[in-house]
């Protein structure tokens, strides 16, 4: 009998059918990935396996059988015995998924005691054991830490430890690495792989990232609008997709190993930073987020700045625009020292939701830079904004709509239109696509490229995603701990990395080909032991 057998599953929230006629099975010890973009219903399926929709008002149809339990017919007590003991779930955001007030070891022990009815002491010992198993150093001491005292990667390890506490047959991982840096992501995926080999538990991985799926599973199920697009062995589906949507999804995924057609960069330097340094905090707590960074941006080219969280790339981007004053060093624009913000250097922000005022129409937001420049003629403002909206692929009629009426990709287009309003020569894009699905991401990246060619813009593209950066950049700078560790033409840096950190980063990027993934895993093990 299969570990998981789902037949004709439907989940409806009111009038919305989130999952529509989905069937799949997962054998003991096997691994299956549900892959799809946001809103495809993949997380809803994961929750349904544990009966988490019970009592929420959602209507669940079809049959769900997990570890021999009929989830649809199970009582509350039976469901509680299933959850954690036979099937355990690891959630996406490891910070918010743990109780901030209790020690991590106590939280794991609580889960263990629910299912074993053992003593406190035994549960605590088990907590330390599993924390040690997932690679938390000095587990007896660290088990007394609160979640905020752990780094993102350690928190995700702690959640996996909680899942292991009762030796479940099935591990459900819902976007387990989405909030993590690429090197940490690789460590977590490797850990899941090892645990599966050792314990023989089944793995159901929910992810939007095809690369993550290729790294970790043997079967894959591609979902869209709550339905199955195709399913099969991972090498077959990703290697020779049968369905157009799967092909579209795969072609949208940026490749870290594909060179990009060079842009029409000139030799004219528009933006130049020398010895930039920025400190935060005072006295003993002061630290330099950016430390002695020098770079140049030429007209018509894209400079990619890549690094993990905390590397100082956003701080650097803000200094280039003038939103932050450097502690030392200077930014020169077209050869002149620049003070404050200038209309010719604009910024596109990461989160298109929070960087637009929800109470003002998008037209008004785009008009802000025009008004700031002293334009008073309402007719001309409106005309220019409509022109900009159309330029970024929206409609002039969208002028009076509000941000919540747009999708993520459309909001980012609004953000780009706002940056264009001031007729800039340079646009600094801070993680412009990291909040978007891959297909939307590809569209926004294409738009930026188009604008660059047409307007001769210089782009500074700040991102953590190495593949996206390669796709858009002529030159790249790799940042770590506030410093640029390696810089050069994109192809050189990616194909022949000199700095060990760059090599480590590149080895951590998930590969789309399962065989390549296995090779990379071997490389990572070598790098880790070296």
């Amino acid at each position: 009998m299969s570990l998981v057998q789902v037949t004709d599953l439907t989940v409806e929230f009111g009038a919305l059918r989130a999952v529509d006629g989905l069937s799949f099975r997962l054998e003991r010890g096997a691994a299956l990935a549900l892959v799809g973009e946001s809103g495809s219903g993949k997380s809803t399926v994961a929750s349904a396996l544990l009966g988490l929709h019970h009592g929420t008002g959602a209507r669940v149809g079809g049959s769900i059988d997990v570890a021999g339990i009929d989830v649809q017919a199970a009582s509350d007590g039976e469901l509680r015995r299933l959850r954690g003991a036979k099937a355990a779930m690891v959630f996406q955001d490891p910070l918010s998924s743990l109780d901030p007030y209790y020690a991590i070891g106590d939280q794991i022990a609580e889960v263990h005691r629910v299912h074993t009815r053992g003593s406190r002491r035994a549960a605590r010992a088990r907590a330390v054991e599993v924390l040690d198993r997932v690679g938390i150093p000095d587990a007896p001491r660290r088990s007394r830490s609160r979640p905020h005292e752990f780094s993102g990667g350690m928190r995700q390890r702690a959640l996996i430890a909680m899942a292991l506490a009762c030796e479940p047959d099935l591990l459900i991982a819902d976007e387990p690495t989405t909030a993590l840096d690429v090197t940490v992501q690789a460590q977590i995926l490797d850990l899941l792989h090892t645990l599966r080999e050792e314990t023989g538990m089944g793995l159901l991985l929910v992810t939007h990232d095809v690369g993550v799926a290729a790294e970790s599973v043997d079967q894959v199920l591609v979902m869209r609008h709550g339905r199955e697009v195709e399913q099969g062995p991972v090498a077959a589906v990703l290697g020779a997709p049968a369905q157009p949507y799967t092909r579209e999804l795969l072609s949208a995924v940026p490749r870290v190993d594909a060179a990009r057609a060079p842009s029409a960069a000139s030799d004219e330097v528009v933006l130049e930073a020398t010895g930039l340094r920025r400190e935060f905090g005072r006295g003993k707590r002061a630290f330099a987020a950016v430390d002695d960074v020098s770079l140049t941006v030429r007209r018509g080219e894209t400079l990619g700045i890549v690094g993990e969280s905390g590397s100082g790339k956003t701080t650097l981007g803000r200094m280039l625009v003038g939103l932050l004053e450097p502690t030392a060093g200077e930014v020169r624009y077209e050869g002149h020292a620049r003070v404050g913000v200038r209309p010719t250097v604009q910024m596109v922000f990461q989160d298109p939701v929070s960087s637009l005022n929800p109470r003002r129409s998008v037209g008004e937001s785009i008009a802000d830079p025009l008004r700031a420049r002293g334009e008073h003629d309402e007719g001309r403002i409106r005309g220019r904004v409509i022109e900009l909206l159309e330029r970024v692929g929206l409609e002039g009629a969208h002028y009076d709509r509000y941000p919540h009426e747009f999708s993520g990709g459309q909001r980012q287009r609004v953000g780009i239109a706002r940056a264009l309003a001031a007729d800039p020569r340079v646009i600094v894009c801070d993680e412009p696509v990291s909040a978007l699905d891959v297909t939307t991401q590809a569209q926004v990246v294409a738009l930026l490229g188009e604008l660059q060619r047409e307007l001769g813009l210089a782009l500074v593209f700040v991102a953590h995603d190495l593949a996206v950066v390669r796709q858009v950049s002529d030159r790249v700078a790799v940042m770590r701990h506030g410093r640029v560790v390696e810089t050069g033409p994109a192809d050189e840096v990616y194909d022949n990395p000199q700095d060990p950190y760059t090599r480590q980063l590149l080895a951590a990027v998930p590969a789309l080909d399962p065989e390549a993934a296995a090779r990379r895993r071997a490389v990572r093990r070598e790098l880790a032991s070296a």
């Binding site: 988490l52 509680r80 954690g84 779930m89 743990l98 109780d99 007030y101 609580e110 609160r146």
Partner: protein
Amino acid sequence: MNGFGGFLLRRSIGTLATLLAISVIVYVVFYVTPGNVAQITCGPRCSPEQVHQVAQQLHLDDPLYVRYWHFLQGLVAGQDYSTGTSVEHCSAPCLGLSYQTDQQVLSIILTRLPVSLSLVFGAMVLWLLLGVGTGVLSVWRRGRLTERVLTGLTLAGWATPVFVIGLVLMIVVCGELQLLPFPQYVKLTDDPEQWAWNLLLPWLSLALIESAAFARMTRSSMLETLAEDHIRTFRAYGVSERSIVGRHALRGAFAPVIALNANNFGSAVGGAVLTESLFGLPGLGQELVHAVSVVDLPVVVGMVLVIGFFVVLANAVADVLYAVADRRVVLT
């Protein structure tokens, strides 16, 4: 300096600065208040001669900064006061003498402070038990009749003035049912049992009113916590609803309850005037209202300083409890 010692030092300095600022403000407010203080102090039948004498005795004709300077001197070094017939020495820390009774302000406060503290401490225990208990119960029974009834009751409790509840309690318990004698203040040191019995009704009336806010605060913060991601984690691990509500959701309500309690405790020490008057408790609030009405500046300043001290103290205690309840909080 870092750690707890540093926190205490910074807080103490902050408290002193706050209290000094309060005293300056009270002096200025009374200085600019219209009305002849000497006339009021002396009484309506005083001759202009006598009024003039009183004004001199109380240094009412001195400029503001001189009077404030005398006040500071008294605080630090003590002061001698002439009462017309004799000279009384008021040793440091001297808050001055009452214009009305020539009593030392400090001794007035010291006789009344235990009454106020008795009232507020007891009421606080009750309002925490009642308020948090009601909040937890309405979260536990959320979506059912119990919750709606409790929500209605807390709203009613919030809207009812303390003298109505107190009066009803007194009429029913002491009058109709004759379960308790009409309250009369007995010192804790004299007879602890009688102290408690006599304070029971004041405690109850004050607590019933105050607990409404705590019930609402507890309920809303628990509901907020229940919507958070980590609650989903524990549900997905088969943890029972009782542990989720009683352990994880309740913990999330600690911080706001601590903050609200500090606020309410601090203001009730000097502000429970209605309760004190209704039950004839000789506490700070009653005295303060009286002192303000007769422009008895030294008493008012002294009282305000003591009340201010308790507000600041309650908030400092709250900050420490905050840091104990939530380890992410760093005391500074």
